[in-house]
C-alpha cells in the first residue's frame, strides 16, 4: 500500500495565498472526492501537488510513502507515481499522441528495456477501444484540435497507459455530455483497485453517480473544512454549501478566482 500525505499545505500564486493549510491523506485502493464552490483552491491543490511552475508552496509538506514530493522535479513526481489529469491539457503540435505515450512509458523504464512496439500498440488499441476513442486519435498531434471531450478522454487514456499509484483528476467531468462522462467514468473505474488511489476534484455530484467515492471532502477558502462518506456528496447536491458555511460559521464569500 502507498500513501500520499498532505500536511498544512500553503500555496501562493502571484503572491496571493490560495491554499491556507490543507490536510489530506490518501491511500491506494481509495477514491477521494474533493468538492466545493468555485475559487476555493481545489485546482490549486492539484497543481501544487504536481508542481505547476506558477504555484509556489510557501509551507507545509506533501509526502508519498515518506518521500518529500515538493523537492522533486515535475517528472520525478510522475516517476514516483503521481499523475494529474489536467483541466486544460496543453496542445503540442507535431508530436503524435502515440509517440508521446511511448515516450512517457519508456521514461519509466531502463534504457534498453523500452516497451516493444507491438506490445505498446496492443495496449494502446485496447485502451482506446475501451474508451471508445476513434483509432485516428493515436496518430493525431497531442491534444491539437481535440474537442473538450476528446481531451478528457485522452487524459484518461494516458492514465490507463501509465498506471500511476495516485491519480488526481482535476474536473475531469467538466464540459462532458452524459455519454462521454460515462465513458470517462468507465476508464477510471477500470483503474480502481489495489495499488491505485485517486483524488477527484469536481463541482458536481453528477460524476459521483458513476464513480462512488470512499471519502468526500469539502474545500472552502483554501482549506478542507469537512470530510465524510458518499452521503456528504448527496447532501451537498440536495442542499448546496450554505449549511456547511452556517455550521462552520464561514461568512465571507470566496472571491471569484478559480486558478
Amino acid at each position: 500500500m502507498s500513501t500520499l500525505v498532505i500536511k498544512d499545505l500553503h500555496v501562493e500564486i502571484d503572491g496571493k495565498e490560495i491554499l491556507k493549510g490543507v490536510n489530506l491523506t490518501i491511500n491506494t485502493n481509495e477514491i477521494h472526492a474533493i468538492m466545493g464552490p468555485n475559487g476555493t483552491g481545489k485546482s490549486t491543490l492539484a497543481s501544487a501537488i504536481m508542481g505547476h511552475p506558477k504555484y509556489e508552496v510557501t509551507s507545509g509538506t506533501v509526502e508519498l510513502d515518506g518521500e518529500n514530493v515538493l523537492e522533486m522535479e515535475v517528472d520525478e513526481r510522475a516517476q514516483a507515481g503521481l499523475f494529474l489529469a489536467m483541466q486544460y491539457p496543453s496542445e503540442i503540435a507535431g508530436v503524435t499522441n502515440a509517440d508521446f505515450l511511448r515516450s512517457a512509458i519508456n521514461a519509466r523504464r531502463e534504457e534498453g528495456d523500452e516497451i516493444s512496439l507491438m506490445k505498446f500498440i496492443r495496449e494502446l488499441d485496447k485502451n482506446m477501444a475501451y474508451l471508445e476513442m476513434h483509432e485516428d486519435m493515436a496518430q493525431r498531434y497531442l491534444n491539437e484540435g481535440f474537442s473538450g471531450g476528446e481531451k478528457k478522454r485522452n487524459e484518461i487514456l494516458q492514465l490507463m497507459m501509465i498506471k500511476p499509484k495516485f491519480a488526481i483528476l482535476d474536473e475531469i467531468d467538466s464540459g462532458l455530455d452524459i455519454d462521454a462522462l460515462k465513458v470517462v467514468s468507465k476508464g477510471i473505474n477500470a483503474m480502481r483497485g489495489e495499488g491505485f488511489g485517486c483524488l477527484m476534484i469536481t463541482h458536481y455530484q453528477r460524476l459521483l453517480n458513476y464513480i462512488t467515492p470512499d471519502h468526500v471532502h469539502v474545500m472552502m477558502q483554501g482549506r478542507v473544512v469537512k470530510s465524510g462518506g458518499e452521503e456528504l456528496a448527496q447532501r451537498l447536491e440536495a442542499e448546496g454549501y450554505d449549511w456547511i458555511k452556517k455550521e462552520l460559521g464561514i461568512e465571507e464569500e470566496t472571491e471569484e478566482q478559480e486558478a
Binding site: P53, D75, I92, A93, V95, A104, A107, R108
Partner: protein, 435 residues
C-alpha cells in the same frame, strides 16, 4: 549608382568555361552578357539584414573536378542514408560540380520526361532551356547575384515533364559537397507542362567541416495549367559558404505547388522562396523550417504574390534559434489589384533556445484588392513552460520534453518530405543542431 565590388572572374574566364563545356553560342553569350550586367547591378537587399560586409564574390576556384560514382555502393555514408538504394528509380547525384551518378527509369524516357544535369541540358535541350532559363521566374538582371549566377552556373538539374504526364515516384537529387574549395552555382529548372505532375526532392549535404567557396543557387519552377509540383529540399551546407539561395515558382491557371523546405545550413544564408500565382485558381503551399546555431546570420524571405483570381497562398515558417544565431523571417502575402477572392495566409513562429539568439518574424500583407481574405500569425518566444510541465507531468524528463516540443515544432516540413531517407536525415540534422 554602381556598387564597386570586383567580380571574381573575367569575361574571358566565363567564355572559356562555356566553350570547354561545349555549350551553344547563345548560352556563352548569355553568360558573357550576364557577367557584364553583374558589374553594374546592385546587390539584393534582403529586408532587415545588412549584407554589405558579406562576401558573395570570392572563391578559391570556379569549378572543381570530382570523380563520379561508378555505383551507389561507393557513396559516402551521409549520402547513402538519403537514398532507397533498391527502390529509387530516378536519381541524380552531383558531387561538388561534377555530375557523378544518374539513373532514370524506362518509364520516364518512354513518357518523354527529361531528367538530366543542367550543363548537359544546355547542350542537348537548347530550345527548352532557351525558353525557360531565367526568363519567366527569375530574371538575369534582378540584381548582382542573379546576374553572377547566370554567368557562372556550373551545375544543377533540368526536369521537364510533358503535358499530361504524371510521375508517381519522386525524382531525387543529391548535391554532395565533399571538397572545401567547391563553389556551387547550381541552377535547378523544373518545368511541368499542362496537367503534368511531379515530385522533386533535393538535398544539399556538405561532408567538409568548413567550406571556402560560394553557394549561389537558383531554382525555377514553371507550373503550367493545372499542373502540380511538389518541391522538397533539405539544405545542410557547411559553415564557410556565403549562401544565396533563391527558389521561385511561377504558376499558371489552376497550377499547384507544395514547397517543403528544411533549411539547415551552417553557413550564413540569404534564402528567398517566392511563388508567383499568375493564373486564376492557382495554389501555393509553402512550408519552411529552419534551425540556426553558432554565430550564424540568416535571412529567410517567403513570399506568395497573387495575380490570379481565386488564388490561394499559405505560408508556414517555423524557426529554432540557439547560441548567438541571428535570423530574420520575412513572410509576405502580396495581392495584386484584380486578384479577387484571393486568399493569403501565413504563420511565422520562432522558438528561441538561448539568451543571445535573435529571431525576428515580420509578417507582411500587401493588398491592392478589396475582395480578398488574408491573415497572419507571428510569434517569437521560448519553449512554452506549460507544454514542458504537461509533458514532464507524464514522467518525461525536461530534456526529452524540450526535444519533443522542438521536433514537433519543426515537424510540418519533416512529415511533408516524400522520401523516407530524406525525412530521416532531416530529423537527424535537427537532432544534431538543436542538441
Amino acid at each position: 549608382m554602381t556598387v564597386e565590388i570586383n567580380l571574381p572572374v573575367t569575361v574571358q574566364d566565363v567564355r572559356s568555361f562555356s566553350e570547354a563545356n561545349g555549350e551553344p553560342t547563345w548560352f556563352t553569350e548569355l553568360r558573357a552578357a550576364a557577367l557584364d550586367k553583374a558589374a553594374g547591378l546592385e546587390m539584393p537587399k534582403p529586408d532587415k539584414t545588412n549584407i554589405t560586409k558579406w562576401d558573395f564574390m570570392n572563391f578559391p576556384t570556379h569549378t572543381v573536378e570530382s570523380e563520379g560514382f561508378a555505383s551507389l555502393d561507393a557513396l559516402p555514408q551521409e549520402a547513402k542514408g538519403l537514398i532507397d538504394l533498391e527502390a529509387q528509380e530516378n536519381l541524380y547525384i552531383q558531387r561538388n560540380n561534377t555530375p557523378a551518378f544518374i539513373k532514370t527509369s524506362q518509364e520516364l524516357s518512354d513518357k518523354g520526361v527529361i531528367f538530366t544535369d543542367m550543363l548537359t541540358a544546355v547542350r542537348e535541350h537548347g530550345e527548352l532551356i532557351k525558353k525557360y532559363f531565367m526568363t519567366e521566374a527569375v530574371k538575369v538582371d534582378e540584381h548582382k547575384l542573379t546576374a553572377l549566377h547566370a554567368a557562372l552556373v556550373n551545375g544543377g538539374v533540368f526536369v521537364y515533364v510533358p503535358k499530361n504526364v504524371i510521375i508517381e515516384q519522386p525524382l531525387q537529387v543529391v548535391f554532395l559537397n565533399d571538397n572545401a574549395e567547391a563553389s556551387l552555382y547550381n541552377h535547378v529548372l523544373v518545368v511541368a507542362e499542362a496537367n503534368a505532375a511531379v515530385t522533386y526532392v533535393e538535398t544539399y549535404i556538405s561532408t567538409v567541416a568548413e567550406a571556402q567557396g560560394q553557394a549561389n543557387i537558383i531554382a525555377e519552377v514553371i507550373v503550367q495549367d493545372n499542373a502540380q509540383v511538389t518541391y522538397g529540399a533539405v539544405d545542410v551546407l557547411a559553415k564557410g559558404y556565403t549562401t544565396y539561395v533563391n527558389r521561385r515558382a511561377r504558376l499558371a491557371r489552376d497550377g499547384k505547388i507544395d514547397w517543403a523546405l528544411g533549411l539547415m545550413n551552417d553557413s550564413d544564408t540569404i534564402s528567398e522562396n517566392i511563388t508567383h500565382l499568375i493564373g486564376d485558381g492557382s495554389h501555393a503551399d509553402t512550408k519552411t523550417v529552419v534551425v540556426g546555431r553558432g554565430e550564424q546570420k540568416l535571412n529567410f524571405t517567403t513570399e506568395v504574390r497573387h495575380w490570379g483570381k481565386n488564388s490561394n497562398g499559405h505560408i508556414l515558417k517555423h524557426g529554432v534559434m540557439k547560441d548567438a544565431a541571428q535570423s530574420i523571417f520575412n513572410g509576405i502575402g502580396y495581392i495584386e489589384h484584380g486578384a479577387t477572392k484571393a486568399d493569403a495566409q501565413q504563420e511565422s513562429r520562432v522558438l528561441m533556445l538561448s539568451e543571445k539568439a535573435r529571431g525576428d518574424a515580420n509578417p507582411i500583407l500587401l493588398i491592392d484588392e478589396d475582395d480578398v481574405t488574408a491573415g497572419h500569425a507571428a510569434s517569437v518566444g521560448r519553449v512554452d513552460p506549460l507544454q514542458l510541465y504537461y509533458l514532464m507531468s507524464r514522467g518525461i524528463s525536461k530534456t526529452e520534453a524540450e526535444r519533443l516540443v522542438i521536433h514537433g515544432f519543426l515537424a510540418p516540413v519533416v512529415t511533408q518530405l516524400p522520401i523516407e531517407g530524406v525525412q530521416k536525415q532531416l530529423t537527424e540534422v535537427i537532432e544534431r543542431k538543436v542538441r
